[in-house]
């Protein structure tokens, strides 16, 4: 099974003997066929699934990752406390605010810095904006793999309004680099709030009704996705699923609710769960979270307090460790940050939700039809930048 790194030293041992040895060899040559789903497949992204099929049935799936490895964790060690955010946000820049918030909270924990309340609220607004942007692409992508590309275009129109708001706030649309240890970098001006409200208005009044009408209770969509890739509650916990995929199996796990960070403790929202645990349930969870996020943004804008938005963060941070979980768009994102008393992080370990979902996928893809592979793959809502880091 795949590659494994031996613990002693850094020698790489490749074990690929199992599939083509002994009695199985004849079977493999006669019946089983290995297909490469990806790297050039339009739905797979920069990653490859080795799919063994027996006729039309999938026997085994082995993900082959590493095409977008950027060594982000190592690069952070060469940065200062402030400018490490540019590497952290590139874990997946579709929702870059969540990762920056997690890293900043971890750094503040070690340094013992308390963030002003206004910064907490701005972080909440930005995080939810990032979640909406990410979920919109997730929705469009899920129907995109089924062969319909209209919802992706609709989702991109709604996403554009949020990107405009981010540009007014920070000066860039995607790689914003706007949340630093010690607060947020820019003042939330009136124009930013205006743009954010207009974006949420567009989402709630134009996008959601139109999308609900066509792509939510859609019979064709249900035929393709209902009862496919079913994960029961116990198995979801056992496999270590994260984010919307876990909530679709009936586990009400949400870091925002369980261990509130930034301003989530003061806001009123519900955790979306579904009982079915199939691909359609995962799609619906993403959809309902989108609506919930829009409400959170409205609440946070109403409750935005006056005052400072950034405090001074020391250049040298005392030695210490911190582990922080944040509810990122794709699930629980963990940051283990270690300081040795220098001007920058000594080590940063990122626990990524997409990586957890990816290794649960081969279990779910046993004995399904080949045509269901893209549906299950897209319903798990993974980001390749996040898998490889």
């Amino acid at each position: 099974m795949g590659n494994s790194i031996s613990l002693a030293g850094y020698t790489f041992v490749v074990e690929e003997t199992k599939e083509v040895s002994g009695e199985d060899l004849g079977l493999l040559q006669e019946k089983l066929l290995q297909l490469n789903w990806g790297v050039q497949h339009p739905a797979s992204g920069p990653m490859r699934l080795k799919v063994w099929v027996d006729g039309d049935e999938v026997v085994k799936v082995d993900p082959d990752i590493g095409y977008v490895l950027r060594l982000l964790e190592k690069l952070v060690e060469y940065r200062t406390w402030q400018n490490a955010i540019v590497n952290v946000e590139r874990a997946c820049f579709i929702d870059n605010f969540g990762t920056m918030t997690g890293y900043s909270i971890a750094a503040e924990k070690i340094a013992g810095v308390e963030v002003p309340k206004k910064a907490d609220y701005v972080r909440t607004i930005l995080c939810e904006g990032g979640r909406i942007v990410s979920h919109l692409i997730g929705l469009g992508g899920f129907i995109g793999v089924l062969g319909v590309h209209t919802p992706m275009q609709w989702a991109l129109i709604a996403r554009e309004k949020f990107l405009d708001a981010f540009e007014v706030y920070s000066g860039q649309r995607i790689a914003t680099a706007s949340i630093v240890p010690g607060g947020v970098r820019y003042e939330p001006t009136g124009k930013f709030i205006e743009k954010m409200i207009s974006a949420v208005d567009f989402l709630e009044k134009e996008f959601i009704p139109r999308y609900t009408e066509v792509f939510i209770d859609n019979p064709t969509l249900k035929l393709r996705s209902q009862g496919i890739g079913v994960v029961p509650k116990e198995k979801a916990v056992e496999l270590g699923l994260a984010g919307p995929a876990l909530r679709a199996s009936g586990v009400a796990s949400d870091v925002r609710k369980d261990y509130p960070y930034t301003a989530y403790g003061e806001l009123d929202f519900r955790v979306v769960t579904k009982e079915e645990g199939d691909a359609y349930a995962r799609y619906l969870v993403i959809w309902e979270e989108l609506i919930e996020s829009a409400k959170i943004i409205r609440q946070a804008i109403e409750g935005l307090p006056e005052g400072e938005w950034r405090t001074k963060f020391p250049i040298k941070v005392p030695p210490g460790e911190a582990y922080v979980n944040v509810e990122w768009a794709r699930g629980c994102f963990g940051f283990h940050l270690i300081s040795d008393g220098g001007t920058g992080p000594y080590r940063l370990k990122m626990r990524a939700p997409s990586f957890a979902n990816l290794w649960a996928m081969p279990e779910m893809m046993k004995n399904v039809k080949l045509a269901d592979v893209p549906v299950i793959f897209a319903s798990l809502y993974m980001c390749h930048g996040d898998i490889d880091r």
């Binding site: 200062t80 402030q82 400018n83 000066g171 860039q172």
Partner: protein, 203 residues
């Protein structure tokens, strides 16, 4: 409602006619956008502007840069010992140099809303040569040199005064020694006067 709609029809029709005629006589389907001077929104992070007069040469921007694209170029004068030079090809426009700049109230290094950075006949050499340098560097250097000259003049004047004062002191002491032999009680106030003169010369 119907009456209002009916009123709107001629307006919209004329609008459409104007749009179509414009499109008919327009030379190209695509527009050249970069010389139109489009204003970006607040906080846009574009081309750098470096003010050499404000710069104190501390090098904080160079340290804050995550991609190490800011070099500190030595100037030869004392006040801004070095000024930043941004290698534009490597810059990622995060704006952390602007945050790190300690000058108040105006920052010496700033990101403006200029986003058009077009090079013609782009080769690797040209890209590596493309840098953002301080705009008013020569003026600032001249000013700094003048300031240095002024300071040196003042120093020399001060030195001269000091020397004169010392000479005067020495003379006064030499004079005092003779009367002091006669009147020992008047020594102290006279010495105090001399020391005051000396301190003025130092200033």
């Amino acid at each position: 409602m119907e009456a209002k709609d009916a009123l709107k029809i001629p307006f919209e029709a004329t609008k459409k006619v104007i749009r179509v005629t414009k499109a008919l006589f327009a030379p190209k389907a695509t527009e050249i956008w970069w010389d139109k001077g489009i204003k970006r929104e607040l906080h846009y992070r574009g081309k750098h502007i470096i003010n050499a007069e404000l710069c104190i040469g501390c090098g904080m921007c160079s340290r804050a840069c995550p991609v190490n694209c800011i070099d500190m170029v030595p100037t030869g004068v004392k006040k801004p010992r070095a000024v930043p030079k941004v290698r534009a090809n490597e810059c990622m426009f995060c704006g952390l140099c602007e945050d790190a700049c300690p000058t108040k109230p105006e920052k010496a290094i700033k990101l403006t809303d200029h986003y058009s950075m077009i090079l013609e006949d782009v080769t690797w050499d040209k890209l590596t040569e493309y840098v953002f340098e301080p705009e008013n560097l020569e003026e600032a250097l001249e000013k700094a040199k003048k300031m240095e000259e002024l300071l040196e003049k003042k120093k020399q004047e001060a030195l001269k005064k000091k020397q004169q004062a010392q000479q005067a002191k020495a003379k006064a002491e030499a004079k005092k020694e003779q009367p002091s032999l006669e009147k020992g009680k008047e020594e102290k106030p006279q010495q105090g006067d001399n020391s005051q003169k000396g301190s003025k010369g130092e200033e």
